[in-house]
Amino acid sequence: MNAAQREQLQRSWADRPGLVGWLTTVDHKRVARRYIVTAFVFFLMAGVLALLMRAQLAYPNLRLIGPDRYNQMFSLHGSAMMFLFAVPIMEAVAVYLVPLMLGTRNIAFPRLNAFSYWVYLFGGIMIFAAFVLDVGPEAGWTGYVPLSSSDFSPGKRTDFWAQMITFTEVAGLCVAVELVATIMTQRAPGMTLARMPLFVWSMLVTSLMVIFAMPSVMLASTFLITDRLVGTQFYNAAEGGDPLLWQHLFWFFGHPEVYIIFMPALGMISSIVETFARRPIFGYTPMVLALVATGFLAFGLWVHHMFAAGLPPLGNSFYTAASMLIAVPSGIQIFCWIATLATGRPRLAVPLLFVLGFFALFVLGGLSGVMLASVPLDLQVHDTYFVVAHFHYVLIGGALFPLLGAVYFWFPKIAGRLLSERLGRWQFWLLFAGFNLTFFPMHYLGLLGMPRRVYTYPHGLGWDAYNLMSSVGAYVIALSFVLMLVNIVRTLRRGDAAPDDPWQAPDLSCATASPPPAYNFAAVPAVSSRHPLWADADATPCAELPVLAGVRSDRREVLLTTPVDAAPANRWAMPDPSPWPLWSALALTVVFVWSIFDQWGVVWGAIPVAVAMTAWFWPKRSEPSLGGDA
């Protein structure tokens, strides 16, 4: 492809300049970058809440923070970490990488992508502003009724929380739908399902899980909102409702939710291990089957959050068996990764270091999870600090460590510069040490009887020393993130420029510049193996990549391929930048916030939403289209 053609491509795919371009972009990379930055900002804010909580718990009977504020803090910490950080950032990394790994120019439904970011941003701002104004959530991130009903949580605090769920679930569902559509229809020609990178597989399964799980929590939170606003009786035992209905609906979502967070990390680990072991992953097929099995099994476990609720024992035992069963696919994956490293030629760069950290921490968390799966043992440690330790090990060890590895791995691709290896190692070791110091003692605290969600504790129960250790560790973790920020800021200012393929990775994302141009690939690549950029199974870099000609460069167009075999099928016109996603998101925000106070907000607020969405979907007659705009 010559320079004139590239220039034409750049013109077709470029955004408008300045602030207008920033607000109207539908480029998946720009949207994903701001998603990632926003999610990290929420992460840091939620982390500050954790630091305050640990300060209050450092000594028994401290009076730094009163019960009301403390309850709001842990509720927002959990809600922000789960709804505003963990799921969105995994989806954001996927939004950035999946089109690149598939060799296509943009994600499916690009305007929906932009819309989902704005909805997510406004929802996040709303809940943090609510916290500042003393109207933040106070019933935990799980919001059990009747505590969260209007009788026991007066005012609008829980309503803001329930509505925040609606915001984030809308955003999450949008991204999930885009990812499934992209993966099923926009793969590079020749990239059959059996040749997809494992990260793409993990995002496919994750997105399908999102689509099936999130409606459950939206239903639960909507019932809660109507109970609190207009007096429905869904959760009122005295009128035929049931407090356990909330728990079932919430955990039917809540358990898949943690796998939604964890599964993208599994994909990231596969990418990192493959690259740094310098051989293809051992056991591709068992790995894919393990991902799919995890996705299915995740929906059959939720009752293990309710073992103490008094359900029939035989039913509980079924969920013990199911919860233990899901350890098998994870065990398969651990074996395959270790086998890959053992038979490859590993080099210990920072991304692989984080993956090693993952192994040390996630396996421990997974094993404590197997313990929690046992009904009698769970009846002792449920709702104690043992569970807090478990889920932090699996969430931080199992999702955050791979994510940080992914940050170091893909930062050169995204920002075009190389992060400092030295600072990266310091960050890793500080985080590893601080994390273990914070959360390992919590296993003992749980066994010694310390329940969760307590703003203080008495002296003399054997808890004092462990709490102090945890509190000190929390500040060590904070220090590691300060280092990370320093690393990122320094690199952005004066870091070394990154080559196209900084780590000699095998997937298509490295077949383009760092950072990629707006159009991703100058020509549509064709693929004939699982490792398009490796000539053989020994990670020898490919000299050339075959490409397909015929997709237009004078306007936005992508190539669609068949779902299973990825044979070329269609050329599809992609939308230009548009302001309507932003207007629609603003209108939707007005509806959601208004309806917290008055149910008529749904009716009257629907009008601007309808106007904005009509403008969004209005067909363009100015340019001929081969199949319609998204």
Binding site: A309, S317, C336, A342, V375, P376, H382, T456
Partner: protein, 335 residues
């Protein structure tokens, strides 16, 4: 960071688990004192050893994978893959076998938690943020009510019926058994068969609002004679005021806001909104464990209940300091 420093740090971190060896406490689940908690303890011991072994094996495999000596030029590529495939199959078989063992052990222990014939029936109603404890009996005059304390006879099975007066709470005495939730609209139950006399502590284990952190239960396991004596004392009505001060205190109690919420059996105060105070001074703690049962603590509590337990349902009743002392004389006599 240098490799040596990293190794030193890892070794130091490995010592962290050892810190757990020297700890017991009155709310510890590792200090099993009943049939039920001992059944659970057996499952815990099994899983702890097996899971620790698995963990060590996985980490050792990983360390070997990274740091094993490789012949410099040889590129193994995928020559070992068939062997690895067989190893994977063996690994899956091992994991499934161990998990099946866990499932069977859990199932059997769970059955032991629900087995047993009740010798004693108790009803616990959890409220924000205290425990109403009623000892039931087929004869109505043998029933009595107390609050925030549980006394059990050793070697007998008590069946605790669990009700909630407002939100979801969770009844949990770690030394005796696992926890069970108290859910409005539901009646759950837990069986306790204590085997070792002594003092234990329970605590609400389901987040229930502002003072979830201070909703403790004082539990004592007594031998048969001690339990019978305690029960007889509880059945007796409140002792009459012993002197003029206490009498004046009783009059204050009955004439003011106190009797609107609290019951003292043997007087006209019969409200069930707040904890039963009939034998208040015989308890070891006040306000569900927030304060010790001593005159100074009770004085501070009466002066301002919201100081020690902010958000709890007891209002601040305005009282003259002299009147408060008379009231204290009465209350401290309620043994």
């Amino acid at each position: 960071m240098t490799a040596r420093a990293a190794r030193t740090l890892s070794l130091l971190l490995l010592a962290l688990p050892l810190a757990g060896c020297a700890v017991q406490g009155v709310q510890s689940s590792l200090q099993a004192a009943a049939d039920q908690s001992r059944a659970i303890d057996q499952v815990w011991t099994l899983m702890l050893w097996v899971c620790s072994a698995i963990y060590v094996a996985v980490i050792a495999a990983l360390a070997w994978a990274i740091w094993r000596r490789r012949r410099a030029v040889q590129r193994e590529g995928r020559t070992r893959d068939p062997l690895l495939a067989r190893a994977l199959a063996a690994w899956v078989v091992l994991v499934v076998g161990l998990l099946s063992w866990f499932v069977a052990a859990s199932f059997l222990a769970d059955r032991r938690l629900h087995a047993g014939h009740a010798d004693l029936e108790i009803r616990v109603t959890a409220k924000q943020w205290w425990w109403q404890v009623e000892y039931l009996s087929p004869q109505p005059d043998q029933q009595f009510s107390t609050a925030n304390e549980l006394r059990l006879p050793r070697d007998q099975t008590a069946r605790i019926e669990l009700l909630s007066g407002d939100v979801i709470h969770s009844f949990w005495v770690p030394a005796l058994s696992g926890k069970e939730d108290l859910i409005p609209g539901y009646s759950n139950a837990v069986l306790l068969t204590p085997r070792r006399a002594g003092r234990y502590r329970g605590q609400c284990a389901e987040f229930c609002g502002l003072q979830h952190a201070q909703m403790a239960l004082d539990v004592e396991v007594l031998d048969a004679a001690g339990f019978a004596a305690w029960r007889a004392r509880q059945l007796a009505p409140a002792p009459a005021p012993s002197d003029a001060h206490a009498l004046r205190g009783a009059q204050l109690f009955l004439g003011s806001a106190c009797a609107s919420c609290h019951a003292v059996r043997g007087t006209s105060a019969a409200s069930r909104l707040g904890p039963d105070l009939t034998h208040l001074a015989s308890r070891r703690a006040l306000a569900a464990g927030a304060l010790p049962m001593r005159r100074e603590a009770l004085r501070a509590w009466l002066a301002d209940p919201q100081h020690a337990k902010p958000g709890n349902q007891m209002p601040q009743v305005p009282l003259d300091p002299r009147d408060r002392e008379l009231l204290l004389d009465y209350l401290m006599g309620l043994r």
